[in-house]
């Protein structure tokens, strides 16, 4: 018996619906159809009236969730693809994100963003939006990489009193598996985790790039290079203390993200480490992002566009030769 990352997301929603009558899910094709990725499969049947198809209106989907949350509900909004949340950008960053600061009244909504690239998905079904939203105060941004995190963090997102953007990576949906779901739910938003201890270089990553980083570490291990891999898990807030502790051990920092290179999570980690841990660094901190173009359609182009394990290996060799 094993459970996938996608099934964990479904199970977390089922648990949230079961445990809390204030929870409901709103999104396109999520009811009878069970969602474009089947992450709400059978939930409409199990929870009548609480898993609702919405019109293709991303702005209004989020706006209605804001209203419902102010009435004490705990809405989960499913964007069909993270890319389409651009159509809800205004409601997310100007309405939801400002609500608590302006009025003192919390706005507890969870917006699920099926994010990241997949072969053949092309420019508009592949984007990573976490850096964009992380720029705005008032939002929590989660980027789970494992089955356990997909499950626990989603339940935590629903429980938190703030608007949460839950960036679930589509490439991981059916590729990442675990033996079983966590037996007990544990909340740990804002805490990074060391996924692989090492002493030579710190690699900071999240979501799908965790696996590229681990693959690179396995390759480098053959050559006697010992990589420490830190999974951020939530990019806002960002757990810089865990990163600094790692850099204190290794003296080298490489950040790996599927997002675009200008600004973003990688830049934020490097800026903070440079500021707070300059004395810890033995080489310039480096970053690997996807290429600085829209995300290409052809699988070969797509593979060359995103940061790969080979690119991580190459970059680390350069850093160690500095």
């Amino acid at each position: 018996m094993s459970i996938t990352y996608l099934e964990a997301i479904r199970e977390a929603q089922a648990k949230a619906l079961r445990d809390n009558p204030k929870v409901y899910i709103y999104g396109q094709d999520i009811s009878t159809y069970g969602g474009a990725f089947k992450s709400t499969k059978n939930l409409a049947k199990e929870f009548p009236g609480r898993v609702l198809d919405s019109p293709i209106s991303e702005d209004a989907m989020v706006g209605s969730a804001i209203g419902a949350s102010l009435e004490g509900m705990r809405p989960i909004v499913e964007m069909q693809f993270a890319d389409f949340s651009a159509n809800a950008f205004n409601q997310i960053v100007n309405h939801a994100a400002t609500y608590f600061y302006r009025s003192g009244v919390p706005c507890p909504i969870t917006i699920r963003l099926p994010a990241g690239g997949n072969p053949g998905a092309g420019p508009f079904h592949s984007q990573s939006m976490e850096s964009l939203y992380a720029h705005f105060p008032g939002l929590v941004i989660m980027t789970p990489a494992t089955v356990e995190d997909a499950y626990n963090l989603l339940l935590e997102a629903v429980a938190l009193d703030d608007p949460v953007l839950f960036c679930e990576h589509k490439f991981l949906y059916n590729r990442v598996k675990a033996e079983h779901l966590p037996e007990e739910v544990s909340f740990s938003a804002g805490k990074a985790l060391c996924r692989r201890p090492g002493k030579d270089v710190t690699v900071v990553c999240y979501a799908a790039t965790l696996y590229d980083s681990l693959a690179a570490a396995a390759e480098l291990e053959k050559h006697g290079i010992d990589i420490e891999v830190i999974d951020l898990r939530t990019v806002r807030p960002i757990d810089i203390e865990t990163v600094l502790q790692s850099v204190a051990r290794t003296g080298h920092l490489l950040c790996v993200s599927e997002g675009w290179p200008w600004g973003g999570v990688n830049a934020e980690v490097i800026a903070r480490v440079a500021s707070k841990g300059f004395h810890l660094l033995d080489s310039p901190p480096e970053r690997l992002n996807c290429r600085d173009t829209p995300i290409p359609y052809h699988p070969d182009l797509w593979l060359a566009h995103r940061p790969s394990a080979a690119a991580v290996v190459k970059k680390i060799r350069q850093m160690l030769a500095w």
């Binding site: 019109p55 706006g63 209605s64 009435e71 100007n94 960002i238």
Partner: protein, 344 residues
Amino acid sequence: MLNTLREPESETIRLGFKEQYVSAFKWMLLARTVEDKVAALWHAGKIAGGCYLGRGQEAVSGAVGVMLRPGDIFAPLIRDQAGRLAFGEPLFDILRTYLGKKTGPMRGRDGNVHRGRPHEGTYPMISHLGTAVSLVTGVMMAKRMRGETGFVGATSIGDGGSSTGSFHEGFNMAAVERVPLVMTVTNNRYAYSTPNARQFACHDLVDRAIGYGVEGYSMDGTDLKECLEVANHAVERARSGFGPQMIVASCVRLSGHAEHDDGFYMDKALLESPIGRDCIRVAQSYVVEQGWADEGTVQEWRREAKAQVEEILQQVQREPGPDPAEEDWHSLATAHLIDQDFSE
């Protein structure tokens, strides 16, 4: 099922109509009075930022406001002072918010018309027009999911705001969800400086009701009697389960977009036309004609409104502004997730 009414059903004057009319008229007077005071403060340099008046729209807003009951909700827009007061917003809120006082509902963090008390059913607007339409839809969906029926949600927009995608998405969603939403679209002829001809190409905005599949009404926004009749009908239809209601009010904005704008671009002929009338003068004549009050009594109401505003203003002016050194600078409700690097 489409049931579009171009005109309100004619109805005999309801029981209690006089009380409703007089009540709405008094809220209109108070709204005009407090906004005149706010404008004076703005011109005296006492208010930072913009100053947005509902002058000429008091009948539309007040009529909707008096139809709402406790438990209903109201997401007001820029020119809704009369409706806010009728729905129960204390006079303190407008003055404290315009003056940025820490004692106000927005604590100096937001100003002027961006104010509300979400737990009391009024929502602080954001400047991006149309966003409240889906917000109210969500509030009413939540009430329905919890089994709370018999309530309505009201919100307002103008001819300009009705052109936004957010308005369309929200109103279409409201119609699909069939929530009890009363949508008042006040066509005051100008969105900032942009005339109707550059805003929409349909004959009349109320024609859009058919497209949305909702019940729609036109009304003369300068005539409180008609506003009350239409608002009463629409609110009761929404309350009785007939889905969203669209009211399109005609009037002319009797000021610039804001106090920094003298409205030089406005067509003077519009102001001379029947929809250019001042709804407060029209209502005052009606009250006197009906024998509900004489001119002297109305003057007394005006004096009372002025005295009330002056008294509250004097108190509010003595209240402290926010102290930047005491601000927590927190944008999250969850204390342990606040970014410590930026909050010190």
